[in-house]
Symmetry: D2
Subunit: 139 residues, 4 copies
Amino acid sequence: MSAFGITEARETLQKVFAPWIVALGLEPVGFDAAGADFLLPENPSLVHIGGVICGQATASAADTCAVVALAALNGRFRICTTVDLTTHFIRPLKPGPVEIRVDVLSNGKRMAYTRVEMRAKGEAKVAVTATSAFAYLED
Amino acid sequence: MSAFGITEARETLQKVFAPWIVALGLEPVGFDAAGADFLLPENPSLVHIGGVICGQATASAADTCAVVALAALNGRFRICTTVDLTTHFIRPLKPGPVEIRVDVLSNGKRMAYTRVEMRAKGEAKVAVTATSAFAYLED
Amino acid sequence: MSAFGITEARETLQKVFAPWIVALGLEPVGFDAAGADFLLPENPSLVHIGGVICGQATASAADTCAVVALAALNGRFRICTTVDLTTHFIRPLKPGPVEIRVDVLSNGKRMAYTRVEMRAKGEAKVAVTATSAFAYLED
Amino acid sequence: MSAFGITEARETLQKVFAPWIVALGLEPVGFDAAGADFLLPENPSLVHIGGVICGQATASAADTCAVVALAALNGRFRICTTVDLTTHFIRPLKPGPVEIRVDVLSNGKRMAYTRVEMRAKGEAKVAVTATSAFAYLED
């Protein structure tokens, strides 16, 4: 494993992503051999007319956290492109913090696959799930 | 068809979506029986370290424009939930305006399906494509 | 929970699906509150020129097993339609039996969501994952 | 462009795919610079209890036809793996021949993206759409 921890994840979140994504305020929570945990803090600017957190924010957070989880597993950020981002919106998320779990399903020389699950903080039931393939553009 | 045009689309974009999505500044361009056209204006806050428009922004724009295109087809905003948002990132989008085409593949009583394609303004080649199912929560 | 077990699952697999799907020979292995387990037996007619089990077979098995897992949870087969089937092919599956796990992520009045994972029998690493939404066409 | 036509496509369909896929009897209809057309002939063994063509068959046909369309564009079959197959089932397909259109959205050195649309023969409305990414495993 790597020396890539909370500090490095925060730096990556600040440096790699667009300012519009940095504004999500994603917080790295922990890293392990299988993936990583993050928190999407409560943020009124993510809530739509229906009074729930917009799916665009959770889909965007899924992609972002998956990239950071891969960086942690690799010990550094390897330039990659998201091949696809497939998000299923299963249950509404009321305003409040969202727990994000990334599982890295595979991490190869050229490709990686991730799954992300999101739950309202403290809830057992999954609200959003996203599966992605990534292609590494450099070694 | 409906009397839902540019003015109503702008109102919908302001009222229905989260402030974080309103910040994308999506512009309705036109509506027809098959779908709708939008523009994602150039926006430096959407550009990541690789110097291209972040995929999170295009995926988010796809979902947003699809909802507005359905509203236009229905003549009003019907409350709906995105069942899934599947985005494929085919080519990088350099900073600049992005043309967005929504085709409504079906629009029923309970479900609707949309496809979104994005191209750098003036380019023929598709950069991003997204397919979604929506479930209407009211008639 | 229901009295829907191995016997009922075998009957469902024989009666509900197309003969081309019945030919997969899918075997129900067990049911629990979260989902179900199945086995795709070794079958040379599913192997393509690359010497691995074709992705079309695993995608087809994923959809099929998800429908049976929902039937088990509901205690009977409720007519439903697959809204989307999103399959990621992560690792090749050499010829041989494939273990299939279905987790039902939600099961509502109108919609259900499932996730399917497949592994070569006895292997820990996931080879195929599929996420789907289903719409019930009757109560 | 290539000399890869109907004859070569038929050979590829017979040689590359698993016997279970060959049994679909997919017929190449034509090739052009943007993609290819195929026909899935009427086949009672693909019809499920609901009296419509099973989604597993159309998803499987989508993947198969996409691979052949890429082979045609490349002038030969390049070994590739399907990264993801995302299929949306929009309308039921009554028993009968199905027209399949493959559009190759991009075809690069390492990756290709395709979109497949299916319609009941002679119908304008799309019944099934599938988007995929492919990774080439050789040059």
